[in-house]
């Protein structure tokens, strides 16, 4: 099992550019999450999904968008990159509310 796979691992964007961070899981999990983690800090929830076709805002959704057309994939879109979006982004999935959240390896994004 691959678990949760994030691509790319690293990316440098210029201010105003757009990109999509990919996240795929092969565990048939309904719950999926996107977090950002600034250096030395905890994780802030950007968006989450409880199943295909259902998404909702987390704590810091501004500047981001998501879609969930399949159970497996949960891409995160940055439309107009800003320096404040420089961070490490983690995708996670879990089977149910009490189960372990499995995380990807993260995407390190720098906006210059």
């Amino acid at each position: 099992n691959a678990g949760v796979t994030q691509t790319p691992k690293f990316r440098i964007l210029k201010i105003g550019q757009s990109m999509t961070l990919q996240c795929a899981q092969d565990m048939n999990h309904n719950y999926m999450y996107w977090y950002r983690q600034d250096p030395g800090m905890g994780l802030k929830l950007i968006y989450y999904s409880v199943g295909a076709g259902i998404t909702d805002k987390g704590e810091v959704p501004n500047g981001y968008n998501v879609s969930r057309s399949t159970t497996e994939d949960f891409p995160l879109r940055l439309e107009l990159a800003a320096p404040s979006q420089t961070s490490v982004y983690f995708c996670a999935s879990r089977w149910d509310p009490l189960s372990e959240a499995f995380f990807g390896q993260g995407t390190r994004l720098t906006v210059v």
């Binding site: 949760v4 719950y31 999450y33 977090y35 030395g40 800090m41 905890g42 994780l43 802030k44 929830l45 989450y48 409880v50 909702d56 987390g58 704590e59 983690f90 996670a92 879990r94 149910d96 509310p97 009490l98 189960s99 372990e100 959240a101 499995f102 995380f103 990807g104 390896q105 993260g106």
Partner: protein, 111 residues
């Protein structure tokens, strides 16, 4: 927003010492999880506590969920250098859909 506050933010101790990390909120959670994160990796689950007042032990780690399900603590006995890392608490919302994290406690255990 269900804010989770962890304290202390940083902790540097000598091998063999005991320590306690706290996770507090004004919100009630259906359950609470503790994760540990190594540099360059995603967090990995240590434990899930569900019932108010619940205590769980994992070798030298003891986890407690507050009676009102608003707070939790992690106690490490006789800390070892291998315990070094970022410890994160995460609350599961009452609806069960959101998983929000605290700011983390960075622990360094010196030999």
């Amino acid at each position: 927003t269900q804010l989770l506050e962890q304290s202390p933010q940083f902790l540097s101790i000598q091998e063999g010492e005991n320590l306690t990390v706290y996770c507090n909120s004004s919100s009630v959670f259906s359950s609470l999880q503790w994760y540990r994160q190594e540099p360059g990796e995603g967090p990995v689950l240590l434990v899930t506590v569900v019932t108010g007042g619940e205590v769980k032990k994992l070798k030298r780690l003891t986890f407690q969920f507050g009676d009102a399900r608003k707070d939790s603590s992690l106690h490490i006995t006789a800390a070892q250098p291998g315990d070094t890392g970022l410890y994160l608490c995460a609350g599961v919302s009452r609806a069960g859909n959101m998983l929000t994290f605290g700011g983390g406690t960075r622990l360094m255990v010196k030999p």
